[in-house]
Each structure stands twice: as C-alpha cells, then as structure tokens.
C-alpha cells in the first residue's frame, strides 16, 4: 500500500486519475457553454500535438496546418449536411446558386464509414503529397514555412471562391444534423462530443509519445539537429519528414472535425493565414518538444483568448503579439520546458528562498558523480 503512494508510482497513476475525475466532474460543474469551449480547445490541442511533432521534434515550421484542419472539418461538415436531408434533396445552399445536382465529390460523403476515414486520411494524403514535393527538393527552414503559408492561401482562396461547390465563404453548418439520432447542437450531444474529444486527445497524445519515444523519434530529432549527417549515415530524411508531416496532417484533420462539430460550422476562415500561425504559438508557449506542453498551450491560450475577448476585445491582439515576442526572446522552451529545466527553483533562488538542500540516494547514481568518484579512486591508487 505504501508503495502505491511513493512519488514514482504516484506520478504514474495520478495524471490518469485526474483525467478521469475531470471527465466525470467537468460536465457537471461547467455550464454547457463553458464545457463546449473546453471541448473545442481540447480539440485544438490535437492539432497542436501535430505541430509539435513536425516543429518541436523535426524542426519543420509549418504555417499551413489550417489546410488539414479545415479539410477534416469540411469532410465531417459535408457528411452532416447530407445526413440531415431526405432522399433526393440537396443541401439548401445549393439552390441559392442554381445548382441542381450534387457535385460528384460530395457523393461518397453520404457514407458515415467513408467520412470516418476521410476526416484523417484526406488531410494525411494531401500533407503527404505536398510534403513529399517540398522535401524532395530539400526545401527547408524558412522556405518551407513560406511555401506552406502560400499553399494555405491557395486553399483558402479556392474554398472561399467556390460557392457552387462548397458554399464558399459561408461555410457549412452542422448544428441541425443528427448524430446517432441526436441533434448535433444539443447539450447532450455536445457533452458526448466533449468526452469523445477527451478520449481522442489522450489517444493522439499516446500516439505521439509512441512516435517520439523510440528510435523513430531519435531520427526525427537527428533531422532537426543535423540532417546531412543523418543522410550520410544511410537514412533518407525525405521519407521521415513526409511520414511525420502526413501524421501531423491527419491529427490536424481530426482536430478540425472535432472543432467543427463543437462550434457548429466549418468555413474557409479555418484556413485564414493568422489562425495557422496562432497554432504555432500554442505550441511555443506550452513548450515545443514536450507533448504535454502542446496540449496545455492550446487550451491555455485559447481559454485566455476567450476570456480577454469577452472583457476587452481590443487588447487581445496586443497580448497575442506580446506572447510571440515573449516566447521567442525570454521563454524559448515554453512553460513546460521552463518548468522542467528548474525555472521555479531559479525564481525562488532570486528571492533568496532556495529549495531546501537534501541528499538524494539518486545522486550516487548520477553518471557525472560516478565519473568524479572513479577519477578520485584512480588518483588515490
């Protein structure tokens, strides 16, 4: 029993306990509006995890994740539009533009199964192809960032301009559709979606941890540290970058679908240039290269944004701009990175209140200490 509460085991099961508690208590404690917001922000955390994979670990700063986010959202949005119809009917907006027949690419979205795959597979494929074309030419660094941003603008203009295909700038509404017989916009359904989001965030987190924890993750970090070196070791970085970019695309797609169904609409605004850069700042503030930081950053920043926007809407851009500057100049590893590198201890030391000195049994196992010891013994002989 005592072992159950030792720091080590505690650290292992406590987070899970907290998550389960949160999942059970939050829907009771929070009013539906707040719960819905939290669900949306958690959904954004999935996209943030993808950005962390490609930027935090692999060093590729994509400013175009909105493409994949919106593609996932549109896939689900199209399905829900069709789902709300009687046989033979067309979604309402088509009549506004005089479209008589459903465009061919809408057809497969009648199927729920197809949609479940399309949500992540289409973004992954688009990301894979786009990534392959770019990485093959060894376009990297800021050039990669600029190109992803340009691609984002292409998609934005396309979706924005095509009323007859996907309702252009107005986007697709999802609230009136039914999911498993329940109205998508109803409180009960939104609570279910919150739980689903929570489960998927955890799933995405575990997936990313698996990806980054082993030798695959080592290879990603090696690409970030010294890509040519890895190439001369016999690895093909293009393959790795394409795979990880596709995974990030898939995560963004899932994130976009969950966000869409919880906010009730998907529109080309999801592909707006500023939104995709905002995603980067979530990861930067939370702590790039730390998976938990990506999720935390997404939730915290968006929560702050909604609070500030309710109270003082004009100041949000100042705060956001300030965050960009702050995180780049003063907090390069983000909040989680700062915490892990002993940030709180440094603050305490500044006010002359350092952590109590203690001896740890682990100290003797520290390689540096052992090295010192062996040197000592060697010298003594």
């Amino acid at each position: 029993m005592a072992e159950l509460f030792s720091t080590r085991t505690l650290g292992r099961w406590l987070p899970w306990l907290l998550i389960v508690l949160a999942a059970l208590l939050l829907p009771v404690l929070l009013p539906p509006f707040r719960l819905n917001l939290l669900g949306r922000f958690l959904a954004l955390g999935i996209a943030a995890l993808g950005i962390d994979l490609i930027w935090g670990f692999t060093g590729l700063l994509s400013l175009g994740q909105g493409i994949f986010f919106a593609l996932g959202g549109y896939a689900l949005g199209m399905h829900l539009q069709l789902q709300a119809l009687q046989p033979g009917q067309l979604p309402e907006f088509f009549s506004l533009y005089g479209v008589k027949a459903l465009p061919a690419f809408w057809q497969p979205f009648h199927s729920a199964l197809f949609t479940l795959f399309a949500i992540w597979l289409i973004p992954a494929l688009v990301a894979g192809v786009l990534g392959y074309l770019v990485f093959r030419n060894r376009i990297k660094g800021v050039y990669f960032s600029i190109l992803t941003q340009a691609a984002l603008l292409v998609f934005f203009n396309f979706f924005n301009g095509q009323q007859k295909l996907i309702n252009g700038t107005n986007g697709l509404k999802t609230d009136t559709a039914r999911i498993l017989g329940q109205l998508a916009g109803s409180d009960g359904m939104q609570r279910n979606l919150f739980w689903l989001t929570l489960v998927l965030v955890i799933g995405a987190f575990l997936l990313c941890r698996w990806l980054t924890g082993g030798r695959f993750g080592d290879a990603l970090i090696a690409i970030r540290d010294d890509e040519p070196r890895l190439r001369f070791t016999g690895y093909n970085p293009t393959a790795y970058k394409t795979v990880v970019f596709a995974v990030a695309g898939a995560l963004a797609g899932i994130s976009g679908a969950l966000y869409t169904v919880q906010s009730g609409i998907v529109s080309p605004q999801y592909m707006a240039v500023p939104f995709s850069i905002e995603m980067v700042i979530w990861v930067a503030v939370g702590g790039r290269g730390t998976l938990i930081g990506a999720v935390l950053g997404a939730v915290l920043i968006n929560y702050a944004k909604s609070l500030v926007s309710e109270a003082l809407p004009e100041t949000w851009l100042f705060i956001q701009g300030g965050l960009f500057l702050l995180v780049v100049t003063a907090l390069p590893d983000g909040l989680v990175g700062w915490w892990r590198s002993g940030g709180p201890g440094r603050i305490r030391a500044m006010v002359g209140w350092p952590a109590p000195a203690a001896t740890y049994p682990e100290l003797d196992l520290d390689p540096a200490v052992q090295a010192e010891k062996t040197e000592w013994q060697g010298g003594g002989r």
């Binding site: 700063l61 203009n157 240039v273 956001q320 701009g321 960009f324 390069p332």
Partner: protein, 385 residues
C-alpha cells in the same frame, strides 16, 4: 494587338505594385536573411502616413501643397516606416540574428501589435503608451544602482514593466473618459486617400486606356528600383552592405561597422515598404489589414525570383502580375474564342482574381519543383555545410 498591349499594361500595373512591395523585402530577406513578417504592416504605416499628410494639407495654410502632397508623402513615408523598422531591428530582430524561424514568429507578433495599434490608437492611448515607456525606462535610474546587480534583478525588471503597463493602462482609461481624447485616430475602418486631380484621370491611346495612377506607380517603381540599384552598387554604404552579405566575419575584421550596416539595411528595406504603402493608397481604400493582403505575395515573389537577386525579384513580380491578369481576366477566351469546351470551362473556372491567385501559386510551387532556388539562383560553392 490592342489586347496584347492591354494585357501587358494591366499585368505590368499589377506587377509593379508587387515589385515595389517586394523590393524592401528583397533587400531585408535577400541581403540579411531576415524574415520580416511585419513588412506588410510597414507598408500599412506608409499608407497611413499618406493619409495623415493628406489631412494636414487638405485645409489650412498648407493647402497650396495639396496638388503635390503625394510627392511630399513619399519621403515622409519612407522615413516613418524606416524609423519604425529601425526600432524593430534595434529592439527585437537584433537579438534573433541567425535564428530565422524565431525571427519569423517574433515579427509576426510585431505585425499583430502594429495592426491593433492602428485600430485602437487614440490620444488617450498614445499618452498612456508614452507614460508606460517613460516609466519603464526611467525607474532603474531612480533606484539604487546596486539593486540592478542583485540576484533578484530579473524580478525587478519584470516588476517595473508590470508597473509601467499598469500606469499606462490607468492613464489611458482615465483620459479615455474625455470624449476628445478617446476618439480613435484611425479606427478599424478603412480609410480613403483622395488623389490630387492630375492623378485621377486616364490617358487614352486609341483603344488602350491607361489610368494615370497606374502610370504613376509604374514610374515610382522604376525610380525606386533605380535608386536601390544605385545605392547598393555605387554608394559607399551600399558596398559595405554587399560586403557584409558576402562575408560578415571578414567585413568585421576590415573595420566595417557591421551592426550599423545591419541597421541601415533594415532601415532602407522598411522605408521601401513605406513607399509601397504610398502607392497602394492610390489603388483604393486601405485598412489595418493591408499588410496581410501583400505579405504572402511578396514572399512568393522573392522566393520565385531567387533570394538575393534584385533582377529576379523584378522579373518574378512582373511575371506574376502578367500571369495573374491573363488568367484572372480570362482574356485567353478572347484570343481563342473557338477553344474546345472542356478547356473553355477550365479557363473560365479560373477567371476571377482569387481563383487566378490559386492557379498562379500552384504554378509557382510547381516551378519550384524544377528550380528550387528560383529563377535566378545564387551560384557558387555556398552550399549547405
């Protein structure tokens, strides 16, 4: 034939704005390798400077200047944007040399702040800001010098800026109670600049109709281009800039003040953005979002042209301009009315400004597949280590 000249002129007109807008970026990105996402906002500042100059001369003693206020606005916009750029370089970008991705994010933050600043700024706001900066900078002088050397000095820094911000916000909201002081200078709405009469008409050349404003922008672009080329190739500081671009360490050793060269390069690049801002006001109303409409296009121009090559920037911008016009106007249909219907449908599909952009950008990405370094790549042994 008329169609050919019409296309050429309109394409050049679109392209020349791009050249002007991308010129400053080509200088900053090409020569210093700095990604300035706030470049568009520096253009916006140039545009708002034009607006202010116009309002100053519209009525009152300076009214005689009104016919040429645009010409007056050009150097002023250059200076204002240049100085804002200089401030940006001294405070932010300087710390981030050699970290392009961080620079990108930081300058994006700056662009957000500048946008919102233009929307929110009022007299009360400005006074609050002045107070905040003054307090932030002055407090350390009032405190004992040894405090700055204590281990808690970083906390003190944090504290003084928090205090400064609070005082600033306090003053701004206090003054905000007064109607006159609370009036925003520009507000979030778009502003319109009235061009002087001589810039408004158009010149008719047979079937070809050339708006004077477009011709003016073409001339301004040519002039700015010549000035930049002269500055870089012939002036002493231009030579120093090129020297630092090619070999920073060696330039340092030869006594070239590299820090001042950086600052100057940035000032010139930012100033050019300001001039582009003046030109943009002639094309229609402008707003705080102006920068966002240009920044991605500008970067595409620079990347397509080949980083570090002014000629590439010009060719790429004009090429994009002409291509956009050809696709966007659907003028291919006029040349070849008997086009097969499938092709016809395709051409008309892309015959809007935003769809033309889709196709042009797709073509650029395709082009970079074959020439990753752009139209005019940097040659030589400077390959990745």
């Amino acid at each position: 034939m008329d169609l050919f000249f019409d296309t050429l002129f309109n394409g050049m007109a679109i392209g020349s704005v791009l050249v002007l807008a991308a010129l400053g970026l080509a200088v900053v990105f090409g020569l210093m390798g700095v990604i300035n996402m706030a470049h568009g906002e520096l253009m916006m500042i140039g545009a708002y400077t034009t607006f202010v100059v116009q309002n100053l001369v519209k009525n009152g003693p300076l009214e005689f200047l009104f016919p040429i206020y645009i010409l007056v606005a050009i150097p002023i916009a250059f200076l204002v944007s240049g100085l804002v750029g200089l401030l940006l370089e001294k405070t932010v970008i300087r710390r981030l040399y050699g970290r392009p991705l961080e620079t990108l994010l930081a300058t994006w933050g700056v662009s957000l702040i500048l946008q919102q600043f233009v929307r929110s700024v009022s007299t009360a706001f400005a006074l609050g800001l002045v107070l905040a900066v003054a307090v932030g900078l002055l407090v350390p002088r009032l405190l004992p010098a040894r405090w700055g050397r204590q281990r808690w000095a970083p906390l003190l820094d944090l504290g003084r800026w928090l205090l400064a911000a609070l005082l600033g916000i306090g003053l701004a909201s206090l003054l905000g109670g007064v109607r006159v002081l609370d009036q925003p200078w520009f507000s979030a709405r778009n502003i319109d600049v009235t061009a002087p009469r001589w810039l408004r008409g158009s010149i008719d050349l047979g079937a070809l109709n050339m708006p004077v404003a477009r011709l003016f922008i073409l001339a301004l672009t040519a002039l700015a281009l010549l000035a930049v080329v002269w500055f870089l190739q012939k002036s002493v500081w231009g030579m120093r800039i090129r020297a630092v671009t090619q070999n920073r360490a060696m330039s340092d050793c030869l006594g070239i003040p590299t820090e001042r060269v950086d600052a100057l390069t940035f000032l010139v690049g930012s100033g050019l953005a300001g001039v582009a801002g003046v030109a943009v006001t002639l094309l229609g109303s402008v707003g705080p979002n102006l920068g966002g409409n240009y920044i991605v296009d500008c970067f595409m121009v620079v990347v397509l042209g080949g980083v570090g090559k002014l000629l590439g920037t010009v060719v790429a911008a004009l090429g994009i301009g002409i291509l956009s016009y050809v696709i966007g106007s659907g003028s291919l249909l006029l040349v070849w009315p008997a086009m097969p219907s499938a092709l016809n449908a395709l051409v008309s599909f892309f015959a809007t400004t935003s769809m033309a952009k889709v196709l042009v950008f797709a073509l650029i990405v395709l082009f970079l597949q074959f020439r990753p370094a752009g139209l005019f790549p940097q040659k030589g042994r400077m390959v990745e280590a």
